[in-house]
């Protein structure tokens, strides 16, 4: 259901368009969706094999912060034994584009005397379809929490042997035992982010924090034509729910979703709202004055400011009390991994304090949940400009923030159809 993902804000939409244009250039535009359908179909056709084992008794539970889930272990999908030597084959990683610092991979190659091969995907749907098809075998995969249950019950992922991952101790205690995967049986956390409101402080009529209800800034007609929401059904609807005081951002109450949809539709006339996932460029470049944004995007945004403007013209609002929407990404090892021991070593390598920090500040821009990263020092060390302090995610945020978690199939349809109605315009 998550159509987009924060990582798509790191420049894939253009790449995406390039792929689409390849079809367009042939003049076969109407075949585009058709071919896409074929792709999805293939993934699934073979997927029956992968799914057989999983569609048995274990129920697909919807993990929520107040009803955590401990995923079952299966006899036919055991974790690897402890104390094995890492393989010396090529480590194959499947990740979002630009989501790992290339130099980190080179270092790992050197240290272990192996080759690392990175394959990238652009949407989580594409990635899951490929993994389910069984046509690919990767050693390391970066899933999202909203489809973890399916990957576990379908036995696409293998349980982790945490003996190989002592660096999990570097992670915030709460995320060592997250609600979506109690005991870190199948995943370890990779990065964390919040969804707030990014803006150009020098152009906005009134910044969000001056409103009684900061989400009202989306409805401020003085920013007409320059107001953007993330082109993502979950994120955009979640902000409308939060504005209306519905704090269950995973609500499946038709009335709540209907009301959120109606609010979205009024935005079309009120401010001529537009949709994009290019928050990290639209805000600095000035195309957007107000843009619903992922926290990590604002860390990359200063690179895209026009000459002569400093990061002080950027702003990011996230509720001071932390009661906004939040999410995190994970690392996992597919069952079909050819080098499972080496993969465990890699997972541990990324969770190393120094490696994770370097990866964050030199390249990725999304913060790893390490206890060693002092949020205040990110500002004093000028990793984050002082006026953007609100992009820093704190462990305490996870206690109160609202996590966009997996929806039931019926709930997912409800959200998607509301989104499609809004996207059809008026």
């Amino acid at each position: 259901m998550h159509g987009r993902h924060p990582r798509q804000s790191a420049g894939f939409s253009r790449r995406d368009f390039l792929q689409r244009s390849a079809v367009g250039a042939l003049g076969l535009t109407s075949l585009g969706p058709l071919l896409a359908a074929c792709g999805g179909e293939n993934g699934n056709g073979n997927g029956n094999g992968g799914g057989n084992g999983g569609s048995g008794e274990p129920e697909l539970l919807l993990a929520r912060p107040d009803s955590p889930v401990e995923w079952p272990l299966f006899d036919d999908n055991p974790p690897i034994e402890s104390g094995l030597e890492p393989e010396n084959g090529t480590l194959r990683i499947y990740n979002w584009n630009a989501y790992l610092w290339p130099r980190l991979l080179r270092q790992f190659e050197k240290e272990y005397g192996v080759k690392v091969e990175l394959t990238t995907f652009t949407t989580a749907d594409e990635a899951t379809a490929k993994l389910i098809s069984g046509a690919v075998d990767f050693d390391v995969y970066f899933p999202t929490p909203d489809r973890l249950g399916r990957l576990v019950l379908g036995k696409i992922l293998q349980p982790l042997n945490l003996d190989y991952v002592p660096n999990l101790a570097n992670v915030w205690p709460s995320l060592q035992d997250p609600f979506y995967d109690q005991g870190s049986r199948y995943t370890v956390p990779y990065t964390i982010y919040t969804t707030g409101i990014g803006y150009r402080a020098d152009e906005i009529a009134e910044p969000p924090e001056t409103f009684d209800n900061p989400y009202d800034v989306y409805f401020d007609e003085r920013n007409r034509g320059k107001t953007f929401l993330l082109d993502d059904s979950r994120e955009a609807i979640a902000h409308m729910l939060l504005r209306a005081g519905v704090n269950d951002v995973n609500s499946e109450d038709p009335a709540a979703i209907e009301a959120a949809k109606a609010e979205l539709i009024t935005l079309i006339d009120a401010v001529n709202v537009k949709l994009s996932t290019d928050d990290y460029t639209y805000i600095p470049e000035g195309r957007a004055t107000v843009h619903q944004a992922w926290s990590g995007s604002l860390i990359s945004a200063p690179y895209y400011l026009p000459e002569g403007l400093g990061p002080e013209v950027l702003g990011f609002w996230f509720p001071e009390d932390g009661r906004g929407s939040i999410g995190n990404d994970m690392i996992a090892i597919p069952k079909s991994a050819q080098n499972p021991v080496l993969a465990h070593h890699f997972v541990n390598y990324v969770l190393d304090e120094k490696h994770g920090y370097d990866n964050f500040v030199n390249f990725v821009g999304y913060q790893p949940p390490f206890t060693s990263i002092d949020p205040d020092r990110l500002v004093t060390e000028e990793i984050v400009p002082p006026n953007l302090e609100s992009v820093v995610v704190r462990e305490s945020d996870f206690d109160v923030a609202y996590f966009l978690a997996e929806l039931s199939p019926a709930g997912a349809n409800l959200w998607q159809n509301a989104w499609a109605e809004f996207k059809a315009g008026v």
Partner: protein
């Protein structure tokens, strides 16, 4: 003349053989994918992975996705809005394209003279750059402080900069026209270049003015080319979804292609996206049928 049947007999395997690659191509890249789309549209989703589960047996086809689309159309919901908008945009864009393409093609064909080759090369030149790159270039040109506004203000057409990218239908339609107009010029040119000049001379000899000769001879002769040009550009326009994405981004300009994209690229309702594809193809098939009928009629009338 009498040798012909013999020749044909000798090469009886050659001619079908030459058609074979085309037939294989058509089967592989049209019929099979189309059946896949039908299978997805009439299929279900995997209960665990929520990926589409195509149904290959037509006897077990499940029409729920079509029912959903039909309800949306009948109740005046989003699907109807988008269908009507898509038709309106494409109709306007095709009309503008024709108004631009015909004079250009006519000029090159009739008066191009020794520059004909150069002019043609100029017309084909945009193809050297991908559609996407041209649209991205327009984003820069159409920005508030972009060159389009600068020029229009310099010649006093505009007093204040126009917000071209502000979710305007006009920008999307102009984007469609710009993107597809070369596809219309080329077939028109190819046809107008072959119009027999002696027919025009005869018309003039019989007392028709230049304009009358054009209206009574050239224009009727070029009807099939006009129809072909319209069909060639209308079909891809109906499936376009990145032009509105790039030049507008507003829900108010989203086209059918955007809804298909939404349902196929994310979530668990891929059959709905596939059903929209099938509905669009059925509608386009109606247009294609009219095109075939109209060209056949035009050819009959021209006595060929």
């Amino acid at each position: 003349m009498s040798e012909r049947p013999r020749e044909r007999g000798r090469h009886s395997l050659l001619w079908p053989g030459l058609a074979l690659p085309g037939i294989v191509w058509l089967c592989l890249f049209f019929l099979v994918p189309f059946y896949v789309v039908l299978g997805v549209a009439f299929g279900t989703v995997d209960p665990l992975f929520l990926t589409p589960q195509p149904e290959w047996n037509p006897l077990r086809w499940d029409p729920h996705a079509f029912e959903f689309v039909w309800e949306g159309l009948a109740s005046g919901g989003g699907f109807r809005t988008v269908f009507l908008r898509t038709f309106a945009y494409v109709a306007i864009a095709v009309a503008i394209s024709l108004a631009i393409a015909y004079p250009v093609a006519y000029y090159v064909a009739r008066f191009g003279g020794r520059f004909k080759g150069l002019l043609l090369a100029g017309l084909v030149a945009p193809f050297l750059i991908s559609y996407l790159m041209r649209m991205l270039a327009w984003i820069n040109l159409l920005q508030e402080d972009g060159w389009v506004n600068a020029v229009l203000m310099w010649v006093h057409v505009l007093d204040t900069p126009r917000t071209w990218l502000d979710g305007r239908a006009s920008s999307v339609i102009l984007g469609l026209v710009y993107g597809y107009v070369p596809f219309m010029i080329l077939p028109l040119y190819a046809f107008l270049d072959r119009v027999d000049r002696s027919l025009l001379e005869a018309a003039r000899d019989l007392g028709a003015s230049r304009f009358h000769a054009f209206r009574l001879v050239t224009l009727p002769l070029s009807t099939p080319a006009i129809l072909a040009g319209c069909v060639i550009i209308a079909l891809p326009m109906f499936g376009d979804y990145y032009t509105p994405d790039l030049l507008s981004g507003s829900p108010n300009t989203s086209l059918l292609g955007n809804q298909i994209d939404l349902y196929i690229r994310g979530g668990q309702q891929v059959p709905v996206g596939a059903a929209l594809v099938v509905c669009l193809m059925l509608l386009l098939a109606v247009f294609m049928a009219y095109y075939l009928y109209a060209t056949a009629r035009a050819e009959r009338r021209l006595g060929r």
